[in-house]
Amino acid sequence: MGFVEVWYLIIGNPVLNVLIALSHILGGSFGLAIIALTIIVRLISWPLTKRQLNSTKALQDMQPKIQELQKKYGKNQQKLQQEMMKLYKEAGVNPLGCLWPMLIQFPIWIALYQAIMGALATTPENLLALAQRLYSWDIVNQAIPLSSKFLWLDLGHPDPYWILAIIVGGTMWIQQKMTQAPAVDPRQESTSRMMTLMMPLMFGFLTLMFPSGLALYWAVSNIIGIITQYFVTGGWGYLKLRSPFQSTPVK
């Protein structure tokens, strides 16, 4: 069995069939099914998310110490890195830990992208190919074909009004700002600001190219992320500390 077969067996087909079954349960609304699946995915990945949020919280708490180190060793980057790693180690925090939940979502995005395109069967080839990927559950077969209409969106195509792109980019920016610690070094600060802007812009751009069903997943996932982050870390984090137009942290 090749990689593609294993992929469909373990990830692709379960996601597709669950999505279609959810759509049938939710009165034939594929949009609601995507939202429900997003919630399910977030629930399944909750242990990882919680670790990430705890990491973020710990990083926030460490900020005064980090800033002290940055002031002290600002001109000696090597020493600064060593001291910061030492600090992270002492506190039991992995600064890259917050990346894992993001990376783990990639296979889900790909599976979801395939599931959306497959389930909506926007082309006759997709509809024919769908036949070989469906389980024999009545709930799944009776749901075919699915309606791609949800609110103003055609879930199989990008949002022509750019509304979803703004929501995806905006919610991602808020989420980034909540976790992005301010840096004392102006160069680091500049890089940090650029990255905080680049990710939302990139996802906004991808939203204009991918089917809006996938962008709906991103938007809902971001909103859930903001809410959980707010409650777990106890507030808006670094978002409330400074406006996007300020370059120095407010003490």
Partner: protein
């Protein structure tokens, strides 16, 4: 963060490839008329091939704008799903770009195109010609009736579904069309007005309707073949009666002398009593059956997706498990409809080659590539 950006890059490129330049697809099949084979090709052309000399008589390329945020050229070849249909001195074809073309059978020159500008919605089903009118269903959910001579619009129906991907059938003064959302509608062929009778199923219909006597036969997404008496609200029977088949009945069945022959995506060919829905026999091809069976005299010809041509002698007594007279491998996948004439079966493979299979000799008589340089 850098990792995220790097990981997103392939996604972006895949997206660009998928949305920017659409690859040409379609499974338009073959039609035989007066020694010429007409086919829609996998690269968006209509071709006429002389069956005696295997030479190209003419070709007609159909293009459409690529649309969207393109990373490539501004126009691409238009896929074709419906098989060309010949009537009089014209061959008609509907394209996925949402236009109907009438080409002369002699030279392949364009007699008319509808609509002259824009699109009527992607066309997937095969057109039907009757009463000097061409009837065609569209992805905008409507059935269109066009004058065969000039291509003028006679009428278009009200939207019947989100999209119509099946072929309509005309019987007398009535046109019947099935929908992916599980309806059969009856329309007046004169006006396109909905008639009193319609049929609604819990599951959508995957295949085009086939009419035999006063009964419509068609396949459903619920893995059953339906027999619906025209005028009735309940199916006459559903096959299989006990538990659903292994997959959808995607291809339209054919009916001959009271027996329905239906291929299923589970790979099985079923022979079913048209009146009762009782199974007479079955044969497992072990590969999905996408194309409708074809009759040639007393021979039933079935091709599975893996490209094996099965020939059954309908005069032979078959019980429970059928044994094919011939099983001929052409060496290419087949999703297209095909035609048979004078002992030869003409098939367009997914590799965009045209095969002529000789039933008597049990092999491929000749094959030519349909990827032709203009």
């Amino acid at each position: 963060m850098l990792l995220v950006v790097i990981a997103l890059l392939p996604l972006t490129l895949v997206s660009c490839a998928l949305w920017g330049t659409q690859s040409v697809g379609g499974w338009s099949g073959t039609a035989f008329h007066d020694g010429i084979i007409y086919a829609g090709t996998g690269d968006g052309r209509v071709v006429a091939i002389n069956s005696s000399t295997q030479s190209l008589e003419w070709l007609y390329a159909v293009v459409m704008p690529s649309g969207g945020m393109s990373c490539g050229q501004s126009s691409v070849s238009a896929p074709m799903y419906g098989t060309p249909i010949v009537d009089g001195d014209l061959v008609y074809v509907g394209t996925y770009s949402g236009q109907v073309y009438a080409l002369t059978i002699a030279r392949g020159t364009e007699r008319w195109v509808y609509p002259r500008a824009g699109s009527m919605g992607a066309i997937v089903g095969m057109p039907v010609v009757a009463n000097e009118t061409i009837y065609i269903s569209s992805s905008d959910g409507r059935v269109y009736a066009l004058d065969t001579t000039y291509g003028d619009l006679k009428w278009k129906s009200e939207p019947l579904a989100d999209k119509l991907w099946t072929s309509p059938k005309v019987m007398g003064d009535t046109l019947y069309v099935s929908t992916l959302d599980g309806h059969i509608y009856a329309l007046s062929v004169e006006t396109g007005q909905l008639l009193d009778w319609s049929f609604e199923s819990d599951a959508g219909f995957a295949s085009s309707p086939v009419i035999y006597e006063d009964t419509i036969f068609l396949g459903s997404f619920d893995r059953h073949l339906y027999a619906v008496r025209i005028g009735s609200d309940v199916p006459m029977w559903k096959f299989p009666q006990e538990k659903p088949a292994g997959n959808w009945f995607w291809a339209s069945p054919i009916v001959n002398e009271g027996i329905v022959y239906a291929g299923c995506l589970d790979g099985k060919l079923y022979a079913i009593e048209a009146e009762t829905g009782e199974k007479l026999w079955e044969f497992d091809t072990e590969s999905p059956i996408v194309s409708s069976p074809v009759l040639m005299d007393n021979l039933l010809i079935v091709i599975d997706e893996s490209g094996v041509v099965y020939v059954f002698d309908l005069d032979a007594e078959i019980r429970d498990e059928a044994v094919p007279l011939k099983a001929i491998q052409i060496g290419a996948d087949v999703n297209s409809s095909f035609c048979a004439h004078d002992g030869l079966v003409y098939i367009r493979g997914e590799n965009n080659q045209l095969y002529a299979v000789d039933i008597d000799k049990g092999g491929v008589s000749w094959k030519i590539s349909l990827t032709i340089e203009e």
